[in-house]
Amino acid sequence: MSERTLRVVVADDSVLLRDGIVRLLNDSGFEVVAAVGDADALLDAVTEHEPDLCVVDVRMPPTHTDEGLRAAIEIRRRTPTVAVLVLSQYVEERYAAELLEGDVAGVGYLLKDRVIDVDDFLSSLRRVAGGGSAVDAEVVSQILGRSKRGSELDRLTPREREVLNLMAEGLSNAGIAERLVVSHGAVEKHISNVFMKLGLDIEDGGHRRVLAVLTYLRAE
């Protein structure tokens, strides 16, 4: 995945955090082509540098509400080749839903404090830049908690639920195996059980699976 140096634009109005992320990315083999503090500068930087990935804070000046999210959606609309990872102070399903509404390939939505778990954060970044997706575990559990599919979900074993969560977060089979410290074959078996019990019809792994799972969970 990392043969090529990924070019990144970082947008965050908190100088401390922006500097921290830039330092982390530079130290970890990314190339930060621009670091900006507001949505307009972000859009300009994306047009100018055409990066592989943007890391975007939701709240930015002037109103400190959802400028970053709007900009992220705009970037996806204008240049679908640019992957976007949105960082949020708190999880809001509405934001996630807006962002993940269309194609979830190359889209991520994470709680800001996930950056502290440096390795996970970097692998989420690489996954999103590579056309995968990253949905915060918090968002997934909110969606699960509100899902009307409670009775169907009850039929899953605890392990299968864990696997479902990780699929919804956007992890690949290999990623799930690594996270749960189980074999690749065991993951595949769990996944096929989940699909069978929920009656989902999904051909392959990857982001389409995420979408299918999220759609299923959110359905009435």
Partner: protein
């Protein structure tokens, strides 16, 4: 009996001896000289025919008589009579003048000049009304003026102001009312005068002793009743005057209610703005710092094997950020509730506010302020916010905070030599200060010409709590 009773009554009623032993200084035209009336009364009640009253309890009679005649020595009763008498004169005079002036104005309206006289006409009415209010002060009625609308450029607006017409109405009513009330109030006085001094009538009575006795007895009773009647009718008149010309208590209360509810809106807005500010400070300040610290630590953890030097560097960065966060949290807490204010008082609390400032800020607090708790908190809040504003926006080299007291108020002055140009209508800082100041019935003024200096003055009542409306 009378002179003795006068001194004893003085003592018991708490009057100044000088006033009540002499005849009333500004005695009105009608009343009989006190000496004469005393003679008459003693004749009537005790002296005239002792044989008839043998066996009476004279001490008791004296006590009753004393009580009955005591008001004659009350200077207020004579003032009341004077008030009624003068009012009986001014009532018709003011009315006549008003009608005359009104007729002239009305007549001249047809040649347009009259239009210019409408304002002066109502001005004249207001002068008469003020005179009537001033007279009521003699009988202890301090009638504040009833607010009237602005007169407008040419005074035309007066003609549509119901309050102006209320004054006209009063003068019209008063022209009849004042003489009538004077008649009632002085009825007993005139009766006494007629009996004692009316030669023709008295001469007639003398031929028929029983009638004379009756008349004298009646006069004796009337003499005691006279001051009471005068007081009663004078108060009645003052009350009526106050009803017409005094402020409307309901209107005052309504005004106060609407002021209070708009202040309450301001306070709620300020509270909401304050909450937003705190939330933002927490989210965008402390939380971001914690995430950044976590990021440094995460990277240090990652690098500790490969590059210990880099890891050490990252740990140092994290430590610096922790210090920054602690400072920010302290600042935030200070804005929420000043614990130091309770523990150490206003001087210490304000000194703490300026201690961390980047420029020298002098603090002077009057040691003897005697403030109620909510006012002390407001003083602290105002100074704290104002200083924060100075540090954030003013680009000042020095500043000062001065808290002083005068009779009923405490005055907070925050001055800086910065670039000025503070727009009091913008920014939540000033709005917050204003709302807090209004919440304790204080006032706020800001002088900030472009180029500076800026002076903020908040004046608050020192004791704030339940107050009369």
């Amino acid at each position: 009996m009378t002179s003795g009773s006068s001194t004893s009554s003085d003592a018991t009623r708490g009057h100044t001896g000088g006033v009540s032993e002499l005849p009333p200084p500004n005695s009105p035209p009608a009343p009989p000289p006190p000496g004469a009336s005393r003679a008459g009364s003693s004749d009537a009640s005790s002296g005239s025919s002792p044989g008839l009253f043998d066996g009476w309890d004279w001490d008791r009679v004296r006590a009753v008589a004393e009580q009955w005649y005591r008001p004659l020595l009350d200077v207020d009763a004579w003032k009341a009579l004077g008030y009624l008498a003068l009012g009986a004169l001014t009532g018709p005079v003011f009315f006549a003048l008003m009608m005359g002036a009104g007729a002239v104005v009305f007549g001249l309206v047809f040649v347009a000049v009259g239009l210019l006289l409408i304002g002066p006409f109502f001005g004249l009415v207001a002068v008469f009304a003020r005179a009537e209010r001033a007279m009521a002060r003699w009988v202890g009625f301090d009638i504040p003026p009833r607010p009237v609308g602005a007169a407008g450029r040419l005074g035309w607006r007066t003609i549509t102001d119901p309050e102006r017409w209320r004054q006209v109405g009063f003068l019209a009513v008063n022209t009849l009312l004042a003489p009538v009330l004077f008649g009632f109030g002085s009825f007993a006085h005139s009766l006494v005068v007629q009996v004692v001094f009316g030669d023709g009538q008295a001469g007639g009575f003398l031929t028929v002793p029983i009638s004379t006795l009756l008349a004298l007895a009646l006069a004796a009773v009337a003499l005691g009743a006279a001051p009471r009647l005068a007081l009663f009718f004078a108060q009645l008149k003052a009350r009526i005057t106050a009803w017409f010309l005094g402020p409307d208590e309901l209107a005052i209360a309504r005004q106060r209610v609407s002021t209070l509810s708009s202040q309450r809106e301001d306070i709620l807005d300020a509270v909401a703005a304050e909450r937003r500010r705190i939330e933002r400070n927490l989210h965008d300040g402390v939380q971001q710092q914690l995430v950044a610290i976590g990021l440094d630590l995460g990277m240090a953890e990652q690098q500790i094997e490969r590059d210990p030097e880099r890891a050490r560097e990252l740990l140092g960065l994290a430590r610096e950020k922790v210090q920054g966060s602690i400072g920010e949290l302290r600042q935030l807490g200070r804005g929420l509730h000043p614990a130091i204010l309770e523990d150490r008082g206003l001087d210490a609390a304000l000194s703490a506010v300026v201690s961390g400032a980047s420029i020298p800020i002098a603090v002077h607090v009057d040691p003897d302020l005697d403030l109620s708790t909510d006012v002390a908190e407001t003083v602290y809040f105002v100074a704290n916010e104002a200083v924060a504003n100075v540090l954030k926006h003013a680009a000042a080299r020095t500043a000062s905070v001065n808290v002083s007291r005068n009779a009923a108020n405490v005055r907070v002055v925050v001055h800086d030599d910065g670039e000025g140009g503070v727009d009091a209508t913008k920014g939540t800082g000033i709005a917050g200060i204003r709302a807090r100041v209004h919440a304790v019935d204080g006032s706020l003024t800001i002088s900030s010409p472009t180029g500076g200096p800026t002076t903020l003055v908040a004046e608050l009542p020192r004791q704030h709590g339940d107050r009369d409306v």
